[in-house]
């Protein structure tokens, strides 16, 4: 699984089992490190709209998110490393969401839960709803649905854990907190006279390239 240095350094599972039978425990730093990271993801306690009810249900006895190492939802961004954007992000709320994300310590992850969080959902044509939180902060897992069921959130959670597990600690694919050059703080949009300013953060949400009309590429540039 995976590629690059991380995968190359991993111990082959067969060899691990074989050595284990002889009473030798072999692992790599990256395995150990990622194992620790992936099993102690702490989500932040906040919800924005109806999707938040599903998120709450996910943590309750019936679905019991605690089984996956996400025990308590933390009431402070300083203690959390997973932001679940569950619900409608209005333009009035968006700066606060980005600010909270900035306040979380690295390494941190984002799950965008529900049609509203990923695109504006049923309110996309409205005047006050952000058309997707990924305009301002990087999202690791998107969950479609209106609302997604708790199983979908658990699946997103497991997807995120798999993603963390596969992350190499060196090379270009390494997590942001191990990259001194990486952008750590995300600009908080200002509430302007007609819209949020800027309307998108171009670094995380590049404008899709315009469709190529015709084939005379010489004319361009």
């Amino acid at each position: 699984m995976g590629s690059g240095i991380g995968a190359a350094m991993a111990v082959k599972p067969d060899l691990k089992i074989e050595l284990g039978k002889q009473g030798v425990f072999v692992t790599t730093i990256s395995d150990l490190y990622n194992w620790g990271r992936k099993n102690s993801v702490w989500p932040m306690q906040f919800g924005l709209a109806c999707c938040a009810i599903e998120m709450i249900a996910t943590t309750m006895a019936r679905y019991d998110l605690a089984r996956f190492g996400a025990e308590v939802f933390r009431p402070s961004p300083r203690q959390a490393d997973l932001m679940i954007i569950s619900g409608t992000v209005t333009k009035k709320m968006a700066p606060q969401v980005v600010r909270l994300y900035n306040q979380m310590a690295e390494p941190k992850y984002v799950i965008a839960m529900g049609a509203c969080a990923i695109s504006g959902g049923p309110f996309k044509q409205g005047y006050n709803v952000l058309k997707g939180i990924d305009r301002y902060i990087p999202v690791d897992v998107h969950i479609p649905g209106c609302p997604p069921r708790p199983e979908a959130l658990i699946h997103a959670f497991m997807t995120l854990q798999a993603k963390i597990d596969e992350q190499p600690l060196t090379g270009s694919e390494r997590p942001r907190h191990l990259d001194a050059e990486a952008q750590g703080e995300f600009p908080i949009p200002v509430q302007g006279a007609h819209d949020l300013e800027p309307p998108v953060n171009r670094l995380v949400w590049p404008l899709p390239a315009p469709a190529v009309i015709g084939t005379d590429a010489e004319n361009c540039g």
Binding site: K91, Q125, K131, A193, P199, P210
Partner: protein, 217 residues
């Protein structure tokens, strides 16, 4: 339940100075409303609430309506001298009817109960125009329930309610300048990415694409 006409009579006999008129609703529901003059609105509102027969003690809903300027074409017959002969000619005269903003209130009576008094009684108030004379008296002092809804009307339509205890924007942020529910509101251009655009959004997405193509050239 008294009809709108009867309520009008009751108001006129209790408050002789008040200017009230019935706005007819030609649809099958026939839900006629009372248009009250902003100057006497508070007095009329207090009367409607306090009158023992009406006892309209609950305002369930307040909302706004935007009536933009509209061009009206009228056909008029005029006498004209055409080629030396006097003739009656039909001419169309166009004039612009100035627009206005309207606040609409739906009143019910809790005291009388929904069975005896099915509602609502509909009140309307109009501003002078849509630009600078947009003040209306707040009815929050009479019906406390409209406090948030008048704030919403202020936010989305731009009607300024004098006498409101806490008139701030409620859905949009304080720095926001437009009124999104007005007919001439143009929402910001954030349709640059549309997987399945259609209708109005398709038009806008196409414009966006053309603009982006221009920038890259």
């Amino acid at each position: 339940m008294k009809s709108a006409k009867e309520i009008l009579m009751a108001i006129q006999s209790a408050l002789p100075g008040a200017q009230v008129e019935v706005v007819l609703n030609p649809s099958p529901s026939g839900q006629h409303s009372l248009r009250i003059d902003p100057a006497s609105a508070l007095a009329v509102a207090v009367f409607l609430r306090e009158d023992s027969e009406l006892a309209l003690d609950y305002c369930s809903n307040a909302t706004g309506v935007d009536w933009p300027d509209k061009e009206v074409a009228e056909k008029v017959k005029v006498a004209k001298v055409v080629e030396g002969v006097e003739q009656v000619v039909e001419e169309t005269i166009k004039h612009v009817e100035p627009g206005y903003l309207e606040a609409v209130y739906h009143l019910f009576s809790m005291k009388k109960g929904p069975v005896n008094e099915p509602g609502p009684v509909v009140l309307r108030m109009r501003t002078v125009n849509r630009t600078d004379q947009v003040k209306l008296p707040s009815l929050t002092p009479v019906w406390r329930s409209v406090e948030f809804q008048e704030r919403e009307i202020f936010d989305l339509f731009g009607i300024v309610f004098t006498g409101h205890p806490d008139l701030r924007r409620i859905l949009m942020w304080d720095e926001f300048e437009d009124h999104p529910m007005r007919r001439d509101y143009v929402d910001p251009d954030d349709y640059e990415y549309e997987p399945t655009p259609h209708d109005e959004v398709l038009k806008r997405a196409e414009e966006q694409k053309a603009k982006a193509a221009e920038v890259t050239q």
